[in-house]
């Protein structure tokens, strides 16, 4: 794929994530989605750029703010929306919900609700790759809020010790729920945590999806070469609250508006228009719109999962309690 086609494809992915989530929020307000719904709007360039930096068979795993990564990796909008609606046709058959999107076929290993708890799993997948002598890498995404919890550090400590092909991608969106970076970390340059483990590091702002791809790509290249893990702090911003129940009173409207000025999606759109790709953009927009509406309809019309699903998904094989 040439760079121009890739640009249009990444635009399509980012636009899909945004529109998917905007419609999710609407469905949530209509009561079609329950529980937690954490939106990724504003951070799309991280997942999309990262996905462009890896192969389809590489491992990825992320936090509960997982819709963006799942869609970027290739999960269908139908499977994603149906999961939000809690339907049997969802990616996790309605058992996971917004926080637990899984798609083993696309090597998207969740969707995890315990802050930092999935970071050892990222290292574990990298461990398996190395154990089997493969060159697959594992990307473990986490929020800067997970920088304070032990599991994250144990994962980094062991990954660095064992030179695992793991890239720790800290999506620093400046707020751990409602607590700003300054109020939660003594050291706000999170990439410097890597120094403690003798690990490579990088730090940049995710305004440009191509830069995201290239900087993560560099870390991926090192990992494939057996040079061990990298900690990358990606500065980004979420426009919405932490979850649907978050009024986001901990920050000003000006601050949010300011961030939107740097929106990576519009930046890419602007670039493409300047490059004369208006027609492609319109085409992509229409396709996205159709895909999202189709996903809503599909999710709406899908059936609830039945109780028969519970036993075989809890244990593999027969299990008598």
């Amino acid at each position: 794929m040439n760079e121009r086609d890739l640009a249009i494809e990444m635009y399509r992915q980012m636009k899909l994530i945004r529109r998917f989530e905007e419609e999710s929020a609407r469905a949530y307000s209509m009561g079609k989605i329950g529980g937690f719904l954490h939106l990724y709007i504003g951070q799309e360039s991280v997942a999309v750029g990262a996905n462009a930096a890896i192969r389809p068979d590489d491992y990825t795993i992320t936090t509960y703010r997982d819709h963006g990564l799942a869609l970027a990796r290739g999960m269908t909008s139908r499977a994603a929306m149906a999961e939000l609606f809690g339907k049997e046709t969802g990616c996790s058959r309605g058992l996971g919900g917004s926080m637990h999107f899984f798609d083993a076929e696309h090597h998207m290993y969740g969707g995890h609700g315990i802050v930092g708890g999935h970071m050892p799993l990222a290292a574990g997948m990298a461990f398996a790759s190395k154990y089997r002598g493969e060159d697959r890498v594992a990307l473990g995404f986490y929020g800067e809020g997970a920088s304070s919890i032990g599991a994250t550090h144990e994962a980094m400590s062991l990954a660095a010790l064992w030179k695992l092909p793991c890239i720790f991608i800290c999506e620093n969106n400046e707020y751990a729920m409602g607590t700003s970076l300054e109020r939660s970390l003594s050291l706000t340059d999170i990439s410097r945590k890597a120094d403690a483990y003798g690990m490579a590091k990088d730090r940049f702002v995710a305004d440009d999806v191509f830069m995201v791809r290239d900087r993560i790509g560099a870390a991926v290249k090192r990992a494939r070469a057996g040079e061990g893990p990298t900690l990358i702090e990606v500065r980004t911003y979420r426009y919405r609250g932490h979850s649907m129940s978050d009024p986001a009173k901990y920050r000003t409207k000006d601050e949010v508006d300011d961030a939107k000025q740097r929106d990576a999606l519009y930046r890419l759109q602007h670039q493409l228009e300047e490059d004369g790709a208006t027609a492609e953009i319109e085409k992509a927009d229409a396709a996205v719109e159709e895909e999202v509406q189709d996903a809503i309809k599909f999710a709406d019309e899908s059936a609830d999962p039945g109780p028969d699903l519970l036993a075989p998904t809890t244990y593999k094989g027969e299990f008598a309690r």
Binding site: S92, G117, A151
Partner: protein, 327 residues
């Protein structure tokens, strides 16, 4: 059959399965160069190399999670906790990841991993190192929990655990490691989960136990026999799944039960068994079911007090007589 110690039976199972399946590996603190804190893994490093016998730093959440992540994508790790007490700092990994990944993913994932190590009291190791952790783990749907009492079962259950596609909690006992017993040599000798064993036949009272306390229950049964009470001792072997049929069959014969195990009395495995018996064998009961547990205190260091708190044969005898109305 070969006579060997319990720790050797565990080791034999690990070695045989590592020979059989290249995706099996073992990691934990001091399992490799140190040859195992309790010498369970002695010799394995030389035999299988450092790629498959892996010393970890003291980071239970980290290496338990790495094991789970590796299992999630196809390896079959054995994760040793130097003692099960330390699994408490990895509890989130077992509860939220190992046990739930399959269900959260709608059945897409498997987590074939074994967590193992010595459990419950040792000798005067104090309150933080004497926990019976099975009561926490048996609560969790998605894991299986087994606890052998004999050398043969130590091998057979561990081999079943390693071959199982679900996370398995395998509980040993520091004070059982030197126990000697005959162990089948067959490399495909396995003991299925969910099947208990009658350790001693009797007609008057059923004593249900597992792991080390099976031996204490057998000692109690000998004392009871001298007083004319024939106790049937059941070794559960598997706690989750639980061999309900064996328990109910025995209750139908004796009409009274005592459950003896390590762990505090509030809730736990024994309370679960009591619930099942009263639900499924209500009409067979001639007396309330009694439990003999660790006393309801953090484990004291003092040798005298520790022995006071741990279930002992005289307490089992007393309970058996009480349910037999023979006080």
């Amino acid at each position: 059959m070969t006579e060997m110690r319990f720790r050797e039976a565990v080791r034999t199972a690990i070695a045989e399965e590592m020979e059989r399946d290249a995706s099996v590996l073992i990691m934990g603190e001091e399992v490799a160069q140190y040859q195992g804190a309790y010498k369970v893994t002695e010799g394995l490093l030389d035999r299988f190399g450092e790629k498959r016998v892996i010393d970890t730093p003291i980071a239970e959440a980290g290496f338990a999670g790495i094991g789970i992540g590796a299992a999630m994508v196809g390896l079959r790790p054995i994760v040793e906790f130097m003692t099960w007490n330390f699994s408490a700092v990895a509890f989130d990994q077992i509860l939220n990841n190992a046990a739930k990944l399959r269900q959260m993913s709608g059945g897409q994932l498997e987590v074939p991993i074994v967590f193992r190590g010595p459990n419950a009291s040792a000798r005067q190791v104090g309150s933080q190192h004497s926990h019976a952790m099975e009561h926490f783990y048996t609560h969790i749907p998605g894991v299986k929990v087994v606890a052998p009492a004999t050398c043969a079962d130590a091998k057979g259950l561990l081999k079943t655990a390693i071959r199982d596609d679900n996370p398995v909690i395998y509980l040993e006992s520091e004070t059982l490691y030197s126990l000697k017993g005959d162990v089948p040599d067959d490399e495909d000798f396995t003991v299925p989960f969910g099947l208990g064993r009658v350790a001693r036949e009797g007609s008057d009272v059923t004593i249900i136990s597992y792991s080390r306390i099976v031996h204490v229950a057998l000692e109690a049964a000998e004392t009871l026999a001298k007083e004319g009470i024939e106790a049937e001792v059941i070794d559960l072997r598997s706690l989750r799944p639980l061999d309900e049929d064996l328990i109910l069959q025995s209750i139908a014969k004796t009409h009274r039960a005592v459950i003896a195990y390590e762990g505090w009395p509030y809730g736990g495995v024994g309370a679960e068994i009591v619930d099942r018996i009263q639900r499924m064998a209500f009409d067979e009961l001639d007396a309330p079911i009694l439990r003999v547990t660790t006393l309801d205190y953090p484990m004291p260091y003092s040798a005298a007090l520790e022995q006071h708190c741990i279930p002992q044969a005289p307490r089992i005898v007393e309970a058996a007589k009480k349910v037999s109305y023979r006080e």
